[in-house]
Symmetry: C2
């Protein structure tokens, strides 16, 4: 069954305290090469049957309305079995 | 500055209650095409300077030791500016 991956990140203008804490830990432990860490979410949706344009449109809707909070997060990528797809937002 | 993305998912044999809850919500709202949802994490590491083999080895160490918990999670992908890279585990 095809797997669709939706990637969601906190918006660039938000602080992302979880990422900042991880960044601080990396610095303390001597990993000085890293300049910033941001932490988002990765959703794996398993789909029954073929992935059609209608499926992708539904994934886009779900990604925008349920898997992410548009006030604080961006959907940064959608991919099908490892291949990035470009699905325009419904609105 | 290059961005390295580390993707971490709960191991397949774990239940992932957060994913199950999201899957249940999708079903209730009529998105019946989806058969399963699993939720993992996506780390964006910003790196100072060029990404060398040493950088990738350090990213691998950080991904295995700090960004994921090997008991319950797998590092499923590491990519540099959108290009997947294959970095063998340190151990």
């Amino acid at each position: 069954m095809p797997t669709i991956v939706v990637e969601v990140m906190p918006k660039a203008e938000l602080l992302d305290p979880q990422g900042k804490a991880t960044f601080g830990a990396l610095q303390r432990l001597g990993h000085a090469q890293f300049q910033d860490v941001r932490i988002g979410k990765r959703f794996e949706l398993t789909v029954d049957g073929e992935v059609t344009d209608a499926t992708l449109a539904e994934v886009r809707t779900v990604a925008d309305d349920m898997l992410s909070n548009a006030v604080i997060e961006d959907v940064v990528a959608i991919s099908v079995d490892g291949t990035p797809v470009d699905v325009p937002a419904a609105r």
